[in-house]
């Protein structure tokens, strides 16, 4: 291998090589960190919400009549929904995972101010919540109908029972090895709530929240002018039932509107629209940068072949075979690319550390840097192959031409 002579020759004409190496380095730094961001977003998108997403739908009821009996409508709506063939269960709630809006409160194990609360999403609903959401009660018990009350907006108080996610229970009571059922936590600093049940997993409505796995059910029914219903159907019935149920509710009460009718797939798609767009944009940027870098390598290699036409002829005259000429340019590009990817690797790591510290991103996976190195090496070799093949076609008789 001609590493030494090629390296020394590169040092004689280093301008173009340095520019290409820098281009590769910058591409590498951007590529690695973009992949890291894409990976983080994709991982977030794949997290389960805890709901039975494939069989869940939702809609909102908005009353515009000033004298409407909202509580009666609420009771009637849920009765109709639950009695519809194909519906497993239904519940009225304030929010659900991935909705983007809802309630959160701090929970603590001791009452009083400055006790270091743990944030949790609050889902209001009745004893039908567990089955409707499709979560599993892994400890304790569900709400009894007697524990569930209608919310009084003029005299709100926290009901004394809650059902929490396992993640919230572990954060609240990290040293508890046994059951947390029966334990008391304090909400709103001083209002005691007893944990009567633990569910396996359910996300908060905000998918980007640090404490997204912290959620609790509070046994409260909200029958105001605005009601949000979540319906769980038999497998395969969701899409068919959505328009039927929407029509049924709209027909049952002409003084309200049914809006935001969505399957949970649509809820998920809407929730991750930004992440999905970010993945596409970054993917496009990486592809574009890689193409531009590849074209830069093609340009430099083509220039070098033209500039060295005579030199190539001399090498051929001195005994270089066509593969040897090809190898020369491939090796030269490999060396330029190696400088680029090594500098780029350092840049990428530095940029990642900065981004992790500044934007609270997840540190990149260990394999991203070597994978990007291999990709850029391959791109470089593919880009230089064309000009190198052209170089092999230069005739050795060039050597005897004057000039």
């Amino acid at each position: 291998m001609e590493f030494g002579p090629i390296w020394r020759a590169l040092l004689k004409n280093k301008g173009g090589a340095i520019l290409i190496a820098l281009q590769i380095a910058v591409t590498m730094a951007i590529m690695v960190n973009s992949i890291s961001i894409m990976q983080e977003r994709a991982t977030n998108m794949q997290r389960p919400s805890g709901m039975d997403e494939a069989n869940t739908l939702t809609f909102a009821s908005i009353s515009f009549a000033s004298d409407a009996d909202n509580r009666a409508t609420y009771i009637n709506d849920l009765e109709m929904l639950r009695n519809t063939p194909g519906v497993i269960n239904a519940v009225g709630t304030n929010s659900f995972p991935l909705r983007g809006g809802g309630w959160s409160m701090g929970l603590q194990t001791e009452p009083g101010e400055d006790m270091g609360g743990v944030g949790s999403a609050i889902y209001f609903g009745d004893e039908h919540m567990i089955e409707t959401f499709g979560v599993e009660l892994i400890d304790g018990e569900n709400f009894s109908p007697e524990q569930v009350v209608f919310l009084d907006p003029d005299n709100f108080r926290w009901e004394p029972y809650v059902i929490v996610t396992e993640a919230l229970a572990k954060t609240l009571f990290p040293d508890e090895e046994g059951s947390v059922v029966g334990k008391t936590a304090y909400i709103n600093q001083n209002d005691p709530v007893q944990i009567i049940g633990v569910i396996d997993q359910l996300q908060a409505p905000w998918q980007g929240w640090d404490e997204v796995e912290h959620a609790l059910f509070s046994p409260v029914k909200r029958a105001e002018g605005f009601a949000r219903y979540v319906v769980r159907t038999e497998p395969g019935m969701r899409d068919e039932l959505l328009p039927q149920l929407e029509e049924m509710l709209a027909s049952a009460d002409k003084t309200r509107l049914i809006r935001a009718a969505q399957t949970f797939d649509e809820v998920r798609e809407g929730a991750y629209l930004g992440d999905s767009a970010m993945i596409k944009i970054l993917g496009f940027v990486i592809t574009l940068l890689t193409i531009i870098t590849g074209l830069g390598i093609v340009g430099l290699a083509s220039f070098n072949v033209s500039r060295r036409t005579r030199q190539i002829g001399i090498r051929r005259a001195l005994g270089a075979t066509k593969p040897a000429i090809m190898r020369y340019f491939m090796l030269e590009n490999f060396m330029i690319s190696s400088v680029g990817v090594v500098v780029g690797g350092a840049l990428a790591i530095g940029l990642n550390i900065f981004m992790v510290e500044t934007f609270n991103l997840t540190p990149m996976s260990w394999w991203v840097v070597p994978a990007a190195m291999i990709v850029l090496w391959l791109v470089g070799q593919a880009a230089v192959a064309g000009p190198a093949r052209r170089a092999t076609r230069i005739a050795p008789s060039i050597a005897t031409r004057s000039g």
């Binding site: 002579p5 004689k12 090498r315 005994g319 075979t321 040897a324 005897t400 004057s402 000039g403």
Partner: protein, 231 residues
């Protein structure tokens, strides 16, 4: 050593056919120092290109060391060039980006010799041409005569059976030209066959045998106009 029989070379474009060599026949024995002389356009360089396997002939036969060259593929032709032939060009043809050591090293690397053997040959050949102390110099740091000596060292390092020299003194002043020709004579005296293409009869006279080429064919003696042109 070298035997060309009825070799012809025709360059074709869409509209023009140029007969650079016509039924060119020549035999050079081992150890000879032959000059090939002729006016511009006579076919000297085409002969050199074909003799050096830098170009393929259109028809005829060419045997080098008893081997029929016309049947070789590109890889085999490269190997023959590398192992049997040393080239000395008018414009030296050193690679400007490489130092003297690396320039002489170029054909040796293509032969696949190990580093120690290459180093020995490079140092010996540069010593022979009196440039052993300039290993790390760049070509641009040397005079024309010195650069041609490096080119000769590069040709000798491969220990070729014969040297093909294309106007080896064309870019040198008289003093340097004499020095290079002395060197070629010395190399020839060591048993290396040399074919030197030149248009100067005074230089051609330094060879042991003179071949004159006109219109792509070997002629018996130097034409009068060539002698007149050379004074």
């Amino acid at each position: 050593m070298l035997k060309m029989t009825d070799v012809s070379k025709i360059y074709r474009t869409d509209t023009v056919e140029t007969h650079a060599l016509r039924e060119f026949s020549l035999t050079v024995d081992e150890g000879e120092f032959v000059s090939v002389t002729g006016p511009s356009g006579s076919g000297k360089t085409t002969f050199l290109n074909i003799a050096g396997l830098l170009e393929e002939m259109t028809s005829g036969t060419y045997e080098l060391d008893g081997r029929d060259i016309s049947k070789l593929n590109d890889r085999e032709r490269s190997r023959v060039r590398n192992e049997k032939i040393g080239f000395i060009f008018q414009s030296f043809n050193l690679i400007p980006e490489l130092n003297i050591f690396d320039n002489v090293d170029v054909p040796l690397r293509y032969r696949g010799l190990n580093a120690a053997e290459r180093k020995r040959r490079i140092e010996e050949s540069l010593d022979m041409v009196g440039l052993a102390s300039r290993l790390k110099h760049q070509p641009a740091q040397l005079s024309g005569g010195q650069q041609q000596r490096v080119a000769i060292a590069r040709a000798l390092a491969g220990e070729p059976r014969f040297l093909l020299a294309d106007e080896p003194t064309g870019n040198l002043d008289t003093h340097m030209a004499d020095s290079v020709l002395d060197l070629l004579s010395e190399i020839n005296s060591n048993g290396v066959t040399i074919i030197m293409v030149t248009h100067e009869l005074t230089l051609a006279d330094r060879a042991k045998r003179n071949i004159f080429v006109r219109d792509g064919q070997v002629t018996d003696a130097a034409p009068e106009f060539l002698r007149a042109a050379n004074g």
